[in-house]
Point group: C2
Chain length 347, copies 2
């Protein structure tokens, strides 16, 4: 069994959760961390010294990219740096798993994809939600026809992330905002359920003083369907906010039933309901509940899938294909266009 | 104690639920029913002959309007007839409780309100949801600050009402469609929670072959708020359908907690949740659950409130004021305008 040696580009809070995932993965180890501030990389690695005594700290990404001892790179620096960082490692033939949002816009994502293909290297968005056992179960319930045809999905997704006006998520230059940091989750989830981009988007935004979005509401139409009586449509809604907590639930309504996911982005649990006649007083108990045990924060599942691609020589992950990553960022680009919100890098 | 004698205009399925409400109301009785088809009125009254042996059937509304024995009228005929029917009874000084949708559009509702004021007679929309114990409890939770500032409301509301292309709810001429028949519930509920009309509406529709709406999705913005970081907004979403069942749940998200109402339109039960930090694996148990016993289908509460107005000589119900009825139909007019959907009567 090949054991893959991971380098971390951007060792911050999110990277700690990634290493938690590494620690429960038998064929991967933490090998290095790189930060423009080398002491940041050193401090990060020290935390895991007992488990991973043999690691290297780098004060820049280039050196880590040239290190022949690194088998794969996890990127978790600021949103605006993802594109350049990913391309640097890809050009050094390092397989890359890069945090979401994958980049600032579709142009950057296209460049990353082209770069990976040119170098014939594995590139994958770290959309961990797609690899969670709860998500797997939900997808299999849908594929097995347990809720009939999925017709709607509804998500309220909010976290009180902002605690000061200088917070990263409010930074216009670094690609902050509710859409890129949190909105990407429901949008990517909808893309997975309904199989592609929406054909119609209606959205409304509330902006921070810095220019990014603090909160938004959006309705997406995925398909028009037709029945004996006329049209019907397949739609999804999300309300997303970085200044307050919400229930973070995902509801999927099908023609024969519905699925409710608790903390959908982290795949806490899922419940399957049968559709009921519109009786007035009904007991509505789930037909099935799925509540998996957690072995880590939840990143181990995407890590295992990434490693499986490496083992098989795949250059793309079939569960989180690059075409979906590109579709999702295109949807987000369109929403920002509706909001007249361009990042400084886009002017 | 004055016992009020009710006449029913349009004795159909809904009127049966109204009479169930009368039967558990001590100061009201069923006195008459009027239908253009008198045998329909007779058949209806026969069902209640053991409880109400002393009733009269009318083959037209005018005769019932002239009957000095009738203290109040409940209108439950087809949507397009509400306006004329209500005005007929109001002009005969009969207090009127009229089913929702109150009329086809704001112009008709204004005429009805003017007519009631001119005649100095009580007029009230039969929006029974507002009078249910669950709704009362939810309003008091909100007023007591139990969820902080209400920031969002989300409702999925669908019933498989259509069973043939000629179904009443598909009738363009009779004011059919998802919006007027079902959409009025969440829109009126949002109006109650957020205190008025939305300042911004985004909606998308799926139309029946007949021209009415089978399903729609809409986001409403009620208020812009401001904090240290910039804007935030108060919004509500509903997806409504007459061709499939949904969960019929109402979720209200506040700055400090949330409320979930089961079968919100019928006020089945309500649960109050505390806002939680965005922890990943959390147990999320309600702080309080309210599950009232039902004494009837649920119309008795609006009937009692209507009778209370009569006892007090009020010409308007403070819980369901005519200004709210007018605001809600104005919102619906605007949505139909967005959908290029005009009823034949409006051309």
């Amino acid at each position: 069994m090949k054991v893959y040696r991971f380098g971390i580009a951007g060792p911050g809070v999110i990277a700690e959760k990634f290493v938690q995932g590494l620690m429960v993965t038998s064929n991967a180890v933490l090998a290095a961390a790189a930060s423009k501030n080398i002491s940041r990389a050193e401090t990060f690695l020290e935390k895991y010294a007992s488990k991973y005594p043999d690691t290297k700290a780098y004060g820049n990404y280039e050196e880590m990219a040239r290190d022949p001892d690194i088998d794969a790179v996890y990127i978790s620096n600021l949103n605006d740096a993802h594109c350049d960082t990913a391309m640097l490692f890809l050009n050094h033939k390092k397989p890359v798993i890069c945090e979401k949002p994958f980049a600032l816009n579709a142009m950057q994502v296209s460049q990353m994809i082209d770069c990976a293909r040119l170098n014939n290297v594995l590139l994958m968005e770290a959309m961990w939600t797609r690899f969670l056992p709860v998500t797997e179960r939900v997808v299999s319930w849908i594929n097995d026809g347990r809720i009939g045809v999925p017709m709607h999905a509804i998500s309220d997704f909010g976290m009180a992330l902002i605690d000061r006006p200088e917070h990263r998520t409010l930074s216009f230059h670094n690609g902050g905002g509710a859409l890129l940091d949190l909105g990407v989750y429901p949008i990517s989830f909808f893309n997975m359920i309904f199989g592609g981009q929406p054909m119609l988007i209606q959205s409304m935004v509330a902006k921070a003083n810095s220019g990014v979005d603090i909160a938004f509401d959006a309705v997406f139409r995925y398909k028009m369907t037709h029945n004996l009586y006329g049209e019907d449509h397949v739609t999804a809604y999300t309300t997303v906010s970085i200044d307050k907590n919400m229930t973070n639930r995902m509801l999927i309504i099908g023609s024969l039933g519905s699925i409710e996911i608790t903390n959908f982005f982290a795949g806490q649990s899922a419940a399957l309901y049968r559709s009921v006649e519109p009786a007035i007083v009904i007991e509505r108990e789930p037909v099935e509940i799925f509540l998996p045990e957690r072995v880590d924060f939840g990143y181990s599942h995407e890590i295992k899938s990434f490693l499986n691609c490496l083992d098989n020589g795949w250059k793309e992950n079939p569960i989180m294909p690059l075409s979906d990553t590109l579709d999702v960022i295109k949807t987000m680009d369109l929403m920002r266009m509706q909001w007249h919100m361009k990042f400084p890098q886009e002017n």
